[in-house]
């Protein structure tokens, strides 16, 4: 019956052959002549077609796309024809061929009515028809964002899963830290929660609504971590959603950061680490993800309107993505950014204090990033030179260590040469017009020169100071470095060229010097570039000049005096002078507590020196130091940077 409808394309309709008519007639005991059978067959065809055409309007008015047996029966009934009973099934009956002979038939099994009627296992009544309402689109804008993060479908979750979901979310977002830990652990290892993934992702996307609550943000990030680490979950395209939530925590000027007492910096660090982890472990799930992340980080970094905490996020984000990312995005952008940052740092007005403190955070973050960049670049060059160094994997994995201990995340492996996904390939796939398309590698010496012009001594210090700070107390015990430390205390010499007040450090300097560079620039050339650069900078940045002029109007303010502003550390000298340093910036809070606000967190992350064999390290790096500088005076000194307000 239905086939007569479907063959419309050919404008031919299914036909009931004469033979069938005769057969049917015979089965009821009537003998038909050929002629009568032919006429009857044609008429039957026509009537069937007519009924089918008529039945389609019942389908249309029932607002369905599928013609049902019911529709056909209605059409028959309204044309005073007996309806066909017994075909009320919702689904089409199978139309099957018979193996022997070319016979096709509708499989219509007989049903034992008695059995059916007396059956005791009556199926539970079908679910009640109900109406559910939800706001689909707010102000007509809902569909601008791609759907998919929110499970809009009516999805059947089993009771248990639903309960699990509720318990877990309640535990994680609740007050009890112990419960949270248990929940996170389970989330990390449960193999049966795939169906809940969209729901968790949805919960996590709620970061945007709790940006005032650092605690909640932290919990959500921990949830991300657990999901990412769960080996049974295939994140698929949800990676994108997770990444966007994490990026939100890294980059957005969170409401929580309005209050300077809130340590949103740690949150950003953690989120950045998480980002790198997601990327290194799941980055292959979404093509072009790395590229997108870099782009958005770069966008934030180059947007001067963004608050400093966003810039900080961008920097730590780049740092977390590996030194290549730093090299390609942060480094080329540094000269432009520097002017802005310096403006902030040079403004000593009281009203600027908070901003300035933030500026120092950014400064520190950049410093950390570029230092690792230099270090890794040097290392990669060495390895390339040595050719297939056996120790490569070991050294490589250890290279990135950014507060990983405190997070309990396994450090994402960062190979020296190319990441497993091939950052370069990602970049190349980025297509024309991408900003770093025309990026050309800068040689290490040139890079160092440039960076040095920005950071001066602090860079060198950082460079050669390996071990991270152990604990919360600034001058914690550290292992002494074996390698030679280059003297970084050329500060006095450079003081007039450098506008930046130096963040400081306590250090242990060994007077030993040796290891002339193998592939590093010669000191003379370095010496030649440094002044030139500094000169160019000081002359070019007229704003900084004017600023210094304005500051000089105040009594006792001059660049040469700035050193006085940073008096000697008030901390007791650490014993044996381990190379530890701490920055203390006096802020407004200082009045209440006698100690300045200390934010060493962002400054600590230097790769643990254990991961870098000191030998290789020592061979390459000392070069960078300024050999000729008089350093003795500053040995074993402990400076703290105390910003005057």
């Amino acid at each position: 019956v239905r086939s007569s409808m479907t063959e419309r394309e050919e404008r031919r309709f299914a036909e009931v052959p004469r033979e069938s008519i005769k057969l049917m007639a015979e089965s009821t005991g009537v003998e038909l002549s050929e002629e009568v059978a032919t006429l009857l067959a044609e008429d039957v065809c026509y009537r069937l077609r007519e009924a089918t055409q008529n039945s389609s309007q019942f389908m249309r008015h029932a607002k369905r796309r599928k013609l049902s047996v019911e529709d056909f029966n209605r059409a028959l009934r309204w044309s005073n024809t007996e309806t066909v009973c017994g075909y009320g099934a919702q689904d089409a009956l199978p139309f099957r061929p018979l193996k022997e002979g070319e016979l096709f038939f509708v499989e219509d099994r007989e049903i034992n009515l008695v059995e059916l009627a007396l059956a005791t296992n009556i199926p539970k009544g079908c679910a009640e028809t109900m109406v559910r309402v939800h706001v689909s689109y707010l102000d007509g804008k809902g569909n601008l964002e791609p759907q998919g993060t929110v499970p809009t479908a009516v999805q059947s979750l089993s009771e248990d899963l639903l309960k699990y979901y509720q318990q877990i979310t309640r535990a994680i977002l609740g007050e009890d830290p112990h419960l949270m830990k248990v929940a996170l652990l389970d989330l990390q290892s449960n193999s049966k929660i795939a169906a809940l993934l969209p729901y968790f992702v949805y919960v996590i996307s709620g970061v945007k609504s709790v940006s005032h609550d650092l605690d909640q943000l932290n919990r959500l990030l921990h949830m991300v971590k657990s999901l990412v680490q769960n080996p049974y979950l295939y994140l698929g395209s949800y990676v994108r959603s997770l990444v966007s939530s994490v990026m939100y925590c890294i980059l957005e000027p969170l409401a929580a950061s309005i209050n300077p007492l809130n340590d949103h910096w740690t949150l950003r660090d953690y989120a950045a680490l998480l980002l790198s982890h997601i990327f290194w472990t799941h980055g292959d799930l979404v093509s072009g993800l790395y590229h997108q992340i870099l782009l958005s980080l770069q966008k934030v970094l180059s947007d001067p309107v963004r608050p400093l905490c966003s810039h900080y996020g961008a920097v730590v984000g780049l740092h977390a993505l590996g030194w290549k990312a730093v090299e390609r995005v942060l480094y080329p952008h540094l000269p432009a950014y520097w002017a802005n940052l310096q403006a902030v740092l040079d403004d000593y007005s009281v009203s600027n204090a908070q901003v300035k403190a933030d500026g120092h955070k950014v400064y520190g973050a950049i410093l950390v990033a570029v230092e690792r960049l230099l270090k890794m670049k040097a290392l990669s060059l060495t390895l390339a030179a040595e050719g297939g160094c056996a120790g490569l994997p070991g050294t490589a994995t250890g290279a990135v260590g950014f507060r990983e201990n405190s997070l309990g995340l396994s450090p994402p492996p960062e190979p020296l040469s190319e990441p497993p996904l091939g950052i370069a390939s990602h970049l190349q796939a980025g297509g024309a017009g991408c900003p770093w398309e025309e990026w050309t590698p800068v040689s290490l010496p040139a890079m160092y020169c440039e960076l040095y012009s920005f950071f001066g001594d602090s860079l060198a210090v950082r460079f050669s100071t390996g071990p991270p700070l152990g604990g919360a107390t600034p001058p914690g015990p550290c292992q002494p470095l074996e390698g030679r430390k280059e003297p970084a205390s050329s500060a006095p010499n450079l003081e007039n060229t450098r506008k930046m007040p130096q963040l400081t450090a306590s250090m242990n300097i060994s007077p030993r010097r040796d290891g002339s560079p193998r592939m590093e620039p010669q000191p003379p050339s370095l010496a030649a570039t440094v002044p030139g650069r500094s000169l160019a900078r000081s002359s070019s940045s007229s704003s900084s000049v004017s600023r210094s002029r304005s500051s000089s109007s105040r009594p006792g303010r001059s660049t040469s005096q700035s050193r006085d502003i940073f008096p000697k550390a008030r901390f007791p000298l650490p014993q044996a002078g381990p190379p530890a340093f701490s920055f203390i910036i006096g802020g407004r809070q200082m009045g209440r507590r006698c100690q300045g606000r200390r934010f060493q967190t962002s400054f600590t992350p230097t790769p643990p020196h254990t991961t870098l064999p000191p030998r290789a390290y020592a061979h390459k790096l000392p070069v960078i130091g300024r050999v000729s500088k008089p350093v003795r005076r500053w040995t074993c000194s402990h400076y703290s940077l105390h910003l005057p307000l």
């Binding site: 044609e42 249309r60 029932a62 044309s79 028809t129 109406v131 309402v133 706001v135 007509g140």
Partner: protein, 739 residues
């Protein structure tokens, strides 16, 4: 379907019966139960009486026609009286094809034919309109009788085809309109005269040339190969009972006439004369796109004079309602600024209502029910709500709430919201109607009579006391129909609910007791849609019997029958001023009917598929219609012209709704999307003065993409209904389809 076998008789009978109802109805609307019976009686009587003395009547009618044509009106009267022939019989017999066999003396004589050609063609523009529904006597006697050599039909047709293809471009588009009706009539003639093989060959050769929007009809036609099948086929009846209307410019028409006369192509000419109505206009021939935008309906375009009648599309004056006590209540609660605002609002409303819209009908043109106290309260609520209304526009789109029917098992067939968006009703294929409360307020029944007696009638909260708290629930199920419910509509006062069903009835339900109050029987065939008047009391229904009926809730028979559609009436809507009713049909036309006299005042053609949704703009000036072809067409009611075409949907449009201020048109479709259109822009871009002077052929800009403001997907949920709340939040409803 069998129902329509007697179609033409029935329809014409009803047409004729109309004036009788109306003369009665205009004087006193409420007292015309008698006219109702009058109108419905021919339905059953006519076919029975027609058969036996058919032959005598044929001759008599022919003579009558002859006398009429020669303006011998007195003789006509006398003859009619003596023969006992009713006007309606004459009409219906005239078009009935069963008399076709007797057209002997007509076919062959070329001379008489030619002379008739010259006469009628000269007289055509003037005389045709006068006797529109009265076919020429020769037509009656010769309908589909043998008129030429069957094998030559292909030659005739291809001759004309060659001619049309060779004429100038500007004429070609216009004359190409002839192809389809000629093709159909020639094919049917062949079938009628038992030339099955020739008919098949003819169909195969030329069916491919027809416009794509006639495909559906062609599919039906191609199944027809036997004379016996012609009887009772709807499509065919439409072709025989109505003339296919074409608009052709005078120049093109002259060209055609000259050609046919030169070639002595009588066959074609006969068909044109007998089955086509050529509406000739002076002026530039129309372009292909202009023609395409207007054609597509079952019987061609509308005759121009059909749409000339004046339509009072303006809104009625709002009744003046004092907003006294209530304001003070608010004043107590609210800060000072608010009541002030309200007062100014009230003033402006008052001043507006004093000015009578020149296009509005007289206030009492249609008797309307008086406002009850509760209605007044509701009006006040409405005014309050409308002050909080969000002003929509291209930059300010509405939020959309979707009411998803779950576990409906593909059974949801109709949805309606109350005007205040507090109740939701769904009609289902399982014959039930379900009502949900959308607000937290639960649905309660009134207590039984026994319990009501106990209640103290004087108490203040008597209205609360009569409700039975035990029956409170979120939804109620109404059982009563014996077939799928295809249409539901709430009364404006939220006391009643209407439902129309496949069982041929419209039922009125009480939302106080949740029981059925009345079953309105009259359609006898599936009733596809029903709609309450915006003032309550009246309602309209339309169904498979091709008529729409106007009812009043307290009359068990219809007050008016709107007959004229050539196929099922699929959707019905009341005009905001309650004086008009719009109907959409499977014949792919929209018609507007005057409630006062049941006249058809507008025929709107241009849809290429059955129309399934209609919506009036809140100011009453415009009408939007949506069809199975996925297009929404916009119409100017005053001028009866198409003013916009909104393309974009990929499936049948089942829901259309204007925002409360008319700035935005929302359309919902089977393709699981809601689309929002900039109706303001669509209406503004048409300068209405432009087409009053000219022939009324406007060129539609193809700007659907500019007018589309937004497209919103649902998750496998076809959109069955759309509703704007009083604050302009858009509510959409549909059943989730898990497949």
């Amino acid at each position: 379907m069998a129902a329509v076998q007697d179609g033409p008789m029935e329809l014409d009978a009803e047409k004729e019966a109309k004036p009788e109802i109306l003369s009665d109805g205009t004087s006193n609307l409420s007292g015309n139960t008698a006219s109702g019976t009058l109108s419905s009686s021919p339905l059953t009587a006519a076919p029975a009486g027609g058969a036996p003395k058919m032959e005598d009547q044929q001759t008599l009618i022919a003579v009558l026609q002859f006398l009429k044509r020669n303006k011998l009106s007195e003789s006509v009267e006398i003859l009619r009286r003596e023969a006992g022939l009713g006007e309606h019989q004459e009409g219906s017999q005239a078009t009935d094809g069963s008399g076709g066999g007797k057209g002997d003396g007509d076919g062959g004589d070329a001379n008489s034919l030619l002379s008739r050609v010259s006469i009628t063609s000269a007289a055509a523009p003037q005389s045709m309109p006068v006797k529109k529904d009265q076919p020429d006597v020769s037509v009656v006697l010769s309908a589909y009788s043998q008129q030429g050599d069957p094998p030559l039909y292909q030659v005739y047709y291809s001759g004309l085809k060659n001619f049309i293809e060779s004429v100038l471009d500007c004429h070609r588009a216009e004359l190409s309109q002839l192809f389809y009706p000629l093709f159909v009539h020639m094919y049917l003639e062949l079938v009628y005269n038992n030339h099955e093989t020739e008919a098949k060959a003819f169909f195969d050769k030329f069916s491919g040339d027809q416009e794509c929007y006639y495909q559906d009809d062609l599919h039906i036609l191609c199944g027809l190969t036997k004379k016996e099948h012609l009887k009772g086929n709807e499509v065919l009846l439409d072709f025989r009972t109505s003339r296919f209307v074409l608009h052709i410019s005078r120049d093109s028409y002259q060209l055609l006439k000259r050609h046919l006369q030169e070639r002595h192509n009588n066959q074609i000419w006969n068909i044109i004369q007998e089955h086509l109505y050529i509406d000739i206009f002076d002026g530039m021939p129309r372009s292909k796109s202009q023609i395409d935008s207007m054609s597509g309906s079952l019987a061609g375009e509308a005759k121009r004079e059909v749409n000339k009648a004046k339509v009072f599309y303006g809104l009625l004056k709002e009744p003046e309602i004092e907003v006294p006590l209530d304001d003070e209540d608010d004043e107590a609660e609210n800060e000072e600024g608010k009541p002030k605002k309200k007062k100014t609002k009230k003033d402006s409303l008052g001043s507006k209502s004093k000015k009578q819209d020149p296009n509005a009908p007289q206030q009492n043109r249609i008797p309307l029910p008086e406002l009850k106290d509760s209605d007044k309260l509701d009006k006040i609520m409405y005014m309050k709500e409308s002050t909080k209304r969000i002003r929509l526009g291209p930059e300010n789109l509405p939020s959309i709430c979707f009411y998803t029917f779950l576990n409906a098992f593909q059974g949801l067939t109709a949805v309606d919201f109350t005007d205040d968006s507090s109740l939701l009703a769904g009609g289902f294929a399982d014959s039930t109607v379900r009502v949900w409360s959308v607000t937290p307020k639960k649905l309660r029944k009134v207590k039984s009579a026994g319990e009501l007696n106990v209640i103290e009638k004087e108490s203040d909260d008597v209205l609360e006391r009569i409700m039975d708290e035990k029956t409170a629930s979120e939804s109620k199920i109404l059982h009563g129909h014996s077939g799928p419910v295809y249409g539901v509509s709430f009364s404006p006062d939220r006391n009643y609910l209407l439902s129309s069903s496949e069982d041929g009835t419209v039922r009125l339900w009480s939302l106080q007791t949740f029981t059925c109050l009345v079953g309105y029987k009259g359609h006898n065939y599936p009733v596809w849609d029903t709609h309450f008047s915006p003032f309550g009391y009246y309602f309209v229904s339309g169904g498979h019997d091709r008529v729409a009926r106007l009812w009043a809730t307290d009359h068990y028979q219809p007050l008016r029958i709107f007959a004229g559609h050539l196929a099922d009436v699929t959707c019905t809507r009341f005009h905001p001023n309650s004086n008009y009713v719009a109907t959409g049909s499977t014949d792919r036309t929209v018609r507007l009917w005057d409630v006062l006299n049941a006249n058809c005042v507008r025929i709107l053609t241009g849809h290429k598929g059955p129309i399934h949704s209609l919506a009036f703009s809140p100011n009453g000036k415009f009408l939007a219609s949506g069809s199975t072809d996925g297009r929404v067409l916009l119409w100017d009611i005053g001028h009866g012209l198409m003013i916009g075409e909104l393309k974009g949907h990929t499936d049948t449009i089942y829901a259309l709704k204007f925002s409360r201020d008319g700035e935005i048109l929302a359309s919902g479709s089977m393709d699981n999307t809601v689309r929002l259109w900039d109706s303001m822009k669509a209406f503004d871009e048409v300068e209405t003065d432009d087409f009053t002077a000219t022939t009324g052929h406007i060129h539609l800009p193809d700007n659907s993409q500019e007018l589309l403001l937004g497209m919103y997907h649902s998750k496998s949920t076809p959109v069955t209904h759309l509703h704007f709340t009083r604050r302009n939040l858009l509510l959409a409803a549909g059943a989730y389809n898990s497949q």
